[in-house]
Symmetry: D2
């Protein structure tokens, strides 16, 4: 509730939002739109919703966009919107990975803040170029590693980095799915098609699609530098060029160890993102599919079920909580938390203020780290698991 | 996603919505607002958000309402909005129970569709008057028994009424909470204050607040008439006039039996709404706090975990599902499903069309049934558990 | 482990045990035998294992009994064993309900301690006669309400009666099964046959078979007198004379309320015994099918997962725990705890000592209470749910 | 139940059993004794229960052994028992790892069948010597990797090796504990002391103690040769010479991948053994702490909860099941299943028969494989995770 009524974001009304990608048949576009609406900080007013102009037009109409703000391509959109007095203030880029960089450059150039889906792009080199562009533009750039928006993920971070677990020793993170168990990409499934295509996805398959989510989540929570990794990437699906299963061992700066498993060929798993963190004083266990509670095990004491909004859930989670405990919030609310924090940052930027310290949505830096992670994992796996340092 | 793009609701843009109640410090008002926004069918444009004019004004401003559409009271609002060419088309009434009827009459009179929080009102007599008023007005009236909006509740209904469980024999429903374990109402908690006050809540305490939710949920799923009940209502909190614990035995028209337990003094329960239905061919088990899966036990076979969006989740759930399985939807999305179905019904009404058959949000009839249930339970309990037939 | 090495029970070697019933095809006989062996306090040496002599003989041989100690009937066995210098010290009676009383009288007369399956017998009048006989004999009589043997049930009792939950307000107990969903008794299933037969089971069907377990468990844990009950017994199975579903509301001496649900027609439930107890200071939740942990919710604090052997599991559970936490103990170990406590009581009796105060296996008094409960429930149900006081 | 009455084992009465180790203060000795008694195939008659003669004597008396069969050391015991006409037929060796080999040689020489705790010994070289000795003796040798005795583990094996999962692609196994989070070995805890001592445990710490259990479980279920592993062993506890955390990546002969995590420093984990196996047609998920159900996810269908004794639990589990579904069996019953199968094998050997094909307790070969696994893991970790082939 705090979120809805946040006065800084309301000043000047809703943020005018555009969207690139996310037309008919897309999944993540609708998610971004709902996330933008939940706390009422945005109004979608323009879009280049598909690379097929006709589809873009049809999708735009269905979403209630004015005819003159439905664009055939993002370049035109960026230029046209920049000229309007009521032009968009922010854009959501929800295209496949290889189509994140170009729109980013175009909209930054047009003075538009950017909200971009993950992974940032298809190569570390490009990621670094994007970072330079963001820094040069001085605009807000958010990367929707949305799982960091869950209230109890905020709580995990608060506890892990606040010392409540003692010295961190172990980070076990996994993200199994099953939707590529069979050759889904050969059945006309568009989601599958581009994800198994190196030209559109980059060097990582499951690695880029969900492995980076797992990596980012762990990184966000423990805040320790990953100094080395040893990876074994596998492609089980016949003819697949990219990995569909990822096993990675992790070593952190303080000596902590860990493992990351991501898979798209594990039957029975829908979005089985799970994070366990163990330190000298206690452990935490959280599962994305049931995000409204986590287990906290202070060493030597009974494990506690910490509920979102419940007695041990802390200030950082309360900040991004809308309804009392026992009424579940989900994926869309977590996503909305990112959107709402970004809105606050955009308003701050527009007003020449510093962003809220309590806010920590993923940024261009997380995008660069994600690509460094992908490239290190690919490199390690090609070298038969050689321990490899992610580039910085 | 189907929900977001529903063309009938988009025709003519968003529905102009007003709100009565739901100002600062209220919980359910924000829930209604978010629910109205999720699928983009409404725009909040007016409100009488508090019975304290100053608070109404402050709340309206924080929500971005235009100054001339923030009203001191609902009567003024109903009249003023009725005169505007851009006046509200629907109103959400989110006040305590005793303040549902008067605004309903006022807005119906003004030609405004009504979305009203539950329970409908404080007496069966009033409920019947409201029903007459709704029928006379010929407008849409929705009661936000929001739990019926959960996709898997839709699936339970589809299975129970579609014969997949065989003849229904047992209905076990419960809704335990713990927030009134201690005398919360004496600590300045406004939510608690009015709920334990017969003047504002009516004859039922936990019975009206959550017992009616449990009753409505069971009724919605099995679709059988409750022919008799035997109730034992208790007030454990010192000095409480209304029940804070409810035990009710149930008998249905076909001979099915059941029990309903609602409590606000059961430590460890947040919103422990749970429904189990058993028939000659199988059983179902669903828990509100983890709403994205349910257990289906076809007799003689292994129990299946049916996930929202998963293989056995059916058409009626798919209709109100936004994101794929494994990414949880929650309370707000369930609530939004009601709002979106109501939007569709309002558009149909405005266009002289019949409402969508697949749509089934709770209506004035459910409100009347709820009050009949409350009064029967109170009567039975006063008669030491005499089996009592709810009035029809 | 404490259990295995208990010195008082070892004095004089193992207790010589006989068995009545429990031959081929029986289920509970084997359970009793395993339970008697687990902690090494008994040696089975004699038996009248079936009412069919040939079957008794075959069963006895399979179990390694000496030929001259396999008997055709319990009367012969009682007399013969009484004459032997190495005659049995205790007997386990594991026949259907209507065959508990006669062997009890015979063995008590022969000076043999009795371990009897539940419910005690088929009428309260008979139960009282049995109690008189036990008291006259001055021998140990144990009733195998085995669920009281689970370590965490001991812990629940310790907490509930030790004040850790404050004043008890609510007792919710249920025991659903599904094996009589269809007409199992007509398929040659012997377990089903006698359970639906009033001549062998008494006045209660599910009520006597599992309802008494649920009642006993609640009674054992909270230790409050059940002052009144209101019952609704139903027979769903075509042609069944006895109930297969039981709904009972409960009122306790201190004003606590509760409900008991037992059913044998609830698909998906195997042995779904579940107990929840709520007081002014906290709540407990335990499920028999997963007996190695329970939930403890101190009011206002996070719920804790209390594991058998873990930090909050207490002394009374530790006493009957064999292996460390995380290695599950189950039904047979719980049953064995009863057997081992009985062994200790028998040795104490033989040595003229008082029984161990920490020991509390169910006795003849629990048997009488069980029949009083059954008869009160049947009476209440016949009177359409009239609140009825169990006889004392 | 089938287990209790198995006629082959009963012929000739109970097997006379001796025990080496397992005296006062030991944990696993009592477990072996209970396991030996549950199905009534053994009678403990002799023991060298401690390396401290006085303690051995005291322990033996407490267990009811005859004075002349309580020995000061295993050599004396082996010789003395060999001379008795009623000498032991089998011996259970339950000492720390470094004390498995010598008693094995002594008892094999004495013609006594051996049941030995895991891991087999402290080096692969010794393991191979033991194997040669077992083969030369022609006696039964069982290694108590007890988790293979759980009914649903049998079912997992049956399904994985019977093709119901299709081609196996992934094996995820983990065994976290938390008891060495702090320096337990410095607090007088004997269990901890020897486990962190290379002289008594061998080259592996957590690796040998629980990592071998995890490895053995996976091996037992999937039946695929582990061709390579890459290990990262860590010692977090200050001053510890042996690992207390183990991360291992796995590659199997058919191209399947996997990971194994074992840890004794993960707060909140008691005995968190968990196995997940995924193939082209489906997945399985089983957790040791709740062993009476597992999840089976046939690809594209809803996940099923398979219960021990329930509809999908199969023949191999039924064979080692005692009580119906819903009444939990646990750790001791799983352990007893190993003991009972060994009894059957011993009787077969004594009678010149072949062992039961349906029986598959772990043998000397599993012991050798376990040591090969330990040595490969240690070697790989020393070579910074070099993929290493376990010796064969």
């Amino acid at each position: 509730m705090a979120i809805e009524g946040r006065s800084d974001a309301k000043k000047g009304g809703r943020i005018r939002l555009g969207m690139v990608g996310g037309g008919e048949g897309a999944f993540i576009g609708a998610v971004h739109r709902i996330a933008s609406r939940i706390d009422d900080h945005y109004e979608l007013v323009a879009g280049a919703l598909s690379s097929t102009p006709e589809k873009s037009r049809r999708s735009g109409k269905a979403l209630g966009l004015a005819d003159d703000r439905i664009y055939d391509d993002f370049e035109t959109m960026a230029k046209a919107e920049a000229k309007r007095p009521d032009g968009i203030e922010a854009v959501a880029i929800v295209t496949p990975n290889h189509m994140h960089a170009a729109p980013t450059y175009a909209f930054l150039k047009a003075g538009v803040h950017v909200i971009c889906d993950k992974p940032l792009t298809t190569s570390l080199a490009e990621a670094k170029k994007m970072k330079a562009a963001v820094e040069k533009a001085g605009l807000v750039f958010a990367l929707t590693h949305n799982y960091t928006g869950y209230p109890l993920v905020r709580r995990m971070r608060e506890m892990a980095q606040g010392g409540e677990l003692g010295e961190i020793r172990l980070v076990q993170v996994e993200y199994p799915q099953d939707w590529l168990t069979e050759s889904t990409e050969k059945t006309g499934n568009k989601q599958a098609e581009w994800r198994v295509d190196p030209a559109r996805s980059g060097a990582g398959g499951a690695l880029g699609d969900i492995g980076t989510h797992a990596y980012n989540l762990a990184d966000y929570v423990v805040g320790l530098e990953l100094t080395e990794l040893s990876a074994d990437l596998t492609s089980f699906g016949p003819g697949r060029q990219l990995d569909d299963n990822v096993q990675i061992l992790l070593r952190y700066e303080n000596g902590a160890r860990g493992s990351l498993w991501a898979s798209q060929v594990a039957p029975g798993n829908e979005n089985g993102l799970r994070l366990r963190v163990y330190g000298t004083k206690g452990g935490l266990h959280w599962v994305q599919a049931e995000p409204n509670h986590m287990l906290w095990s202070p060493f030597g004491k009974s494990t506690r079920i910490v509920t979102r909004g419940g007695p041990d859930s802390g200030a950082s989670a309360a900040r991004v909580t809308r309804v009392p405990p026992g009424h579940p919030e989900g994926y869309l609310e977590g996503f909305a938390n990112i959107y709402s924090e970004v809105a606050s940052a955009i308003r701050a930027a527009q007003n020449g203020k510093k962003p809220d310290k309590a806010s920590h949505f993923p940024t261009i830096d997380d995008g660069v780290k994600g690509l460094a992670f992908i490239e290190a994992a690919v490199k390690s796996s090609k070298a038969n698991g050689k321990w490899t340092k992610p580039a910085r």
